[in-house]
C-alpha cells in the first residue's frame, strides 16, 4: 500500500510575508510618521538620547510580547471583554519592565518612571493587538509587534539625536559641538519634537508619493 503523505504547506519562519511584517512598520507604514500614533510620548522623552533608547527597548519588548500573548489567547478571549483583556496583558508587561528597571538600572527608572507607566496608554501597542494579534497566528503577531516597536523607536532615536545635539551640544551626555556653541533652548522644548517629526514626514512623503493622502 502506497502511503500518500499529504504535504502540509508549512509556513516559513522568515518568508516574504514575515519579512514584510517586520520591515514595513520601520518606514513605509511607520506607526508615528505614517499612522501618526504614539506622538505624545515621542514628544516627551526625546530631549536626550539615552532615555529614548531605554524607552525604545521597553516599547519593543511590550509590543512584541503583548502581540504574542494576545495572539496565543485570541481564541479564548471572550469578545465582550477583549479590550480589557488586552489592557491587562499590556499593563502586566509594562509592570514587569518597570520592576526590571528598578532592579537593574535605578537611575534610569527614576528618570523615566512616569513615561514607562504611560506605555500602557501608548495607542501603538493596543492598536496592534486589536488590528493584528486578535486575528493572526502567534509568530506573525510577534514579528508585527517587534516591527512596530522598532518603527516607533527609530523615530524616537532620530528625534532625540537632533534634539540633544542642537539643544545641548552633546550626545549621550558627551560634548560634541565645540565649547562656544550656544545651546538652542527651543530644541529642548517638546515643540521641537513636533518640528523634527514634521520634517521627517515631509522628507518621507516626498520620497514615497503613495503615502500622500489625496482624498
Amino acid at each position: 500500500m502506497a502511503e500518500t503523505k499529504v504535504k502540509e504547506a508549512k509556513e516559513p519562519l522568515f518568508g516574504k510575508k514575515e519579512r514584510k511584517l517586520l520591515v514595513d512598520p520601520l518606514l513605509d507604514n511607520n506607526p508615528i510618521t505614517v499612522q501618526v500614533l504614539g506622538v505624545c510620548s515621542a514628544l516627551a522623552v526625546t530631549s536626550l538620547l539615552m532615555p529614548s533608547i531605554v524607552m525604545t527597548v521597553a516599547v519593543v519588548f511590550v509590543c512584541g510580547f503583548s502581540n504574542l500573548i494576545t495572539s496565543l489567547l485570541r481564541n479564548i478571549i471572550p469578545n465582550e471583554v477583549r479590550l480589557i483583556a488586552q489592557l491587562i496583558i499590556i499593563a502586566t508587561l509594562v509592570t514587569i519592565v518597570e520592576l526590571s528597571l528598578k532592579y537593574f538600572d535605578y537611575p534610569t527608572y527614576k528618570e523615566l518612571s512616569v513615561y514607562i507607566g504611560l506605555i500602557i496608554t501608548n495607542c501603538i501597542v493596543m492598536g496592534r493587538l486589536e488590528a493584528f494579534a486578535m486575528g493572526n497566528k502567534p509568530w506573525k503577531s510577534f514579528l508585527d509587534g517587534l516591527g512596530n516597536g522598532v518603527g516607533y523607536g527609530i523615530i524616537l532615536i532620530v528625534v532625540a539625536f537632533f534634539r540633544e545635539l542642537f539643544g545641548k551640544g552633546t550626545l549621550f551626555g558627551a560634548q560634541i559641538l565645540p565649547e562656544g556653541y550656544f545651546a538652542n533652548n527651543l530644541m529642548v522644548m517638546p515643540a521641537a519634537a513636533m518640528f523634527i517629526l514634521a520634517v521627517f514626514i515631509w522628507i518621507q512623503r516626498s520620497r514615497n508619493k503613495e503615502l500622500v493622502d489625496i482624498s
Partner: protein
Amino acid sequence: MSTTKIYLFVASMTVVVALLLTGFRMATAEQAEINEKVFNKRAILKSLAEGLNGNLDEITDEEVQMIFEKDVKQFVIKADGTVNEGLVAEDVKMKKEVKKPVEERNLPLFVYANPVSNKTYYITAVRGKGLWDEIWGSIALEEDFNTIVGVSYDHAAETPGLGAEIKDNSAWVALFTGKKIYDDAGNFVSINVRKGGAIPGNPHQVDAITGATITGDGVTKMLESGLQLYEPYFATLKAGM
C-alpha cells in the same frame, strides 16, 4: 459566549496576572530597595563635590555603602536645635516633613568625616517648589557652618534643558561652591539665584539659568527656608567647639 464563561475567563486571568506580578515583585524587591538607598546616598555624597575623595561616578555601589557605614554619622535634628534620637536621617522623608509645621519637622543631617583630609562636612537637606513640581537637594557646609562645599539638586518634573539643569548642569551646580550663607556680621542671608547674573565678588549670589527663572527662584526660596532651620543646632555645635 455565555456570561458564566466570561466571568470565568476574567477571574482566571486576574488570578494568573496577580500571582505573576506578586512573584516578580517579591523576587526583585530586595535589590530594588538597595538600589534606591544607594541612589539617595549618591545624591547626598554628590553635594560634597571636591570634599569627597575621588570621582563619585567611579565609586561602586558597595563603596558608597561603605562610606556611609564608616565615615558618615547621621543625625535627625529639630528646628529648635535639639536632636531627635529616635530616628535615622536616611529614613526621614523630606516630602512628608516639609508639610509639617516648622517646629514639628525632622531634619536629616549627615556629618561626613573625610578620612584623608581629616576635614568634617555637614550635609543638610532642603526641599521646595520648582516650576512644575517639587525640587530638593543636599547642601554641604564646611566646619564653619557657613561656606558651601557643594550642592546637589534633584527635581520631580522640571523641564529638561531648562529647569532640570539644576540637576544636569554640573557647571552651574559648581557655582555654589565657596559661597557663604552668612554675611560678615553673622546674619543669615542664604544664597540668591540672581536673574541677570550674580554681581561679581558677591559671596551670596549665583547666576540664574537662562529660561528657568521660576525654577531658579524656587531654589532661592528653598535654600532660604531650609538652611535657616539648621541654624539653632549649628549654634549648639559651635558653642561646644
